[in-house]
Symmetry: C2
């Protein structure tokens, strides 16, 4: 059975392990703080690769940022990684093939191969965390677009410029559906810049009316966004992952979505491939690429 | 060279002609008012098919409404066609194969094979007419979704219930970007239920400030919708067709879109495959299906 040396490169942490063709993690998971320099990132990758590359068939990297259609390089810059991250020549790091894919795409792929979207023709993964990531799979292929950057969840929730998005434009889904968005919702509703996402979640648990209202508005924004996606893609399912996904009422969202679409009913599911789905998806995609 | 007997079945008219493998119309174009009964529609189709089916290799139907993934039947109902239209058994109308596809998908395909999106990896067609149709092509295939109904341009432009959409939900792109939408914009701005889309277009031509403002708001709504589509699909181009497309400033939309996306630049183009692109696209798709 083939093995992949898998990495997950995020804004704060880099993870690394070995994964087999079943998507099973078969080694310890190493963890590093993401260095603030390209050299630092390259050093971690180079060290780990030199330690383990003889044991594996391919190097599989799940990374923040968009990845080109050849899965060889990062394109464009990513807000939460060091500037010029994309100038790293990943292919030079190993004698084995180095396969890259965007982390949300990798997580979507893990769900598709071993998680809750297995067997579907069309699935959409939304990672609800600090931001919102997107991964869309259509007929056994990731939607990559002309450059590799497709699946960005930056479509409008309003068109009259209410809330600036992290992307520089206005009123994108990301700035209404992320954890950050829930904090902004609460700040605006309570006129209190100190309130946190945790305060809202805690308030909901304790039956606080105001906090529940804020939470439900946020959940409704997620619902409204999914309605648009369901009409565009007619997916079998929409998978929710990321740190915020555990708090939403998937049944309620599903009912509301299916009452408001012109396509056919979809299902809303919580991700099931676990915390390391990025590395697992990267590995499974990398195996396909060397077949 | 193969030939297709092509139909375009719309809410008001049915067109019929013969088209060759180059997408060339090689016979007269017959035109009928769309009957208000299923029997009436079937009679027109049956008559035309019995007249011409011996001359052709396949029957190709571009139709209002969503078409299943097998391209054999209409699924769901379509607002502007007779109730139960979808119960027509199209396959029984001819001894030759009867191939169906949604009209916006057909028009998108015509542009892809012989029009302005030729050679692209990812293209999106928006037909701006009474409503808004959508056709999305990704890597040489129409985006159909799990049932065949994908590509519906019903994503939100607002999420606080301002304007009811024809689909029964609220604030969809269609009800801000169609010709109908421009009339509603004008009615609201002028507090005059009698104002027409034509009045606005005429006003813009004559330099009327208020009408120009109304028109630009409408054009901006189209722009805002395309921003979301460009971030989701990362398309090479967005093609505008339909009766309203001729009035928009594609260069202005393109500039605004490319200044507001996180993916890579796209181009906005006016459709070039002509008035019968529905029948042409249906024919070209039908030829593929019998290869």
């Amino acid at each position: 059975m083939k093995k992949a040396l898998a990495f997950d490169i995020g804004g704060t942490k880099i993870y690394n392990t070995i994964i087999d063709e079943n998507g099973k993690i078969i080694a310890e998971i190493d963890k590093f703080h993401t260095p603030k320099t390209i050299e630092g990132i390259k050093e971690i990758l180079a060290n780990q690769i030199s330690r383990f590359e003889d044991e594996v068939d391919v190097i599989a990297i799940s990374t923040a940022g968009a990845v080109n259609n050849e899965n060889t390089a990062v394109i464009g810059s990513t807000g939460n990684l060091v500037k010029n991250y994309r100038t790293i020549d990943f292919q030079k790091l190993s004698n084995k093939k180095v396969f890259l894919e965007n982390d949300a795409n990798c997580a979507a792929w893990a769900e598709y191969e071993i998680g809750v979207s297995k067997g579907t023709a069309v699935s959409i993964m939304l990672t609800l965390g600090t931001g919102v990531g997107g991964g869309i799979i259509i007929n056994d292929k990731l939607l990559k677009g002309k450059s590799g950057a497709a699946g960005e969840m930056h479509f409008k929730m309003f068109t009259d410029k209410r809330r600036k998005c992290t992307c520089g434009s206005w009123d994108c889904f990301e700035i209404y559906a992320s954890g950050t968005a829930l904090k902004i919702d609460a700040e605006e509703a309570l006129n209190n810049p100190e309130v946190t996402t945790y305060d809202v979640i805690d308030g909901v648990k304790n039956g606080d009316t105001k906090m529940t209202e804020i939470f439900e508005r946020w959940q409704n924004d997620i619902t409204q966004g999914i309605i648009g996606l369901a009409n565009l893609f007619d997916p079998d399912c929409v998978v929710l992952s990321g740190s915020m996904a555990q708090f939403v009422d998937t049944k309620k969202i599903e009912e509301e979505v299916n009452n408001n679409i012109v396509t056919t009913p979809t299902s809303i599911r919580l991700a099931g491939a676990g915390n390391y789905s990025g590395m697992i998806g990267a590995a499974l995609l990398a195996f396909r690429s060397i077949k």
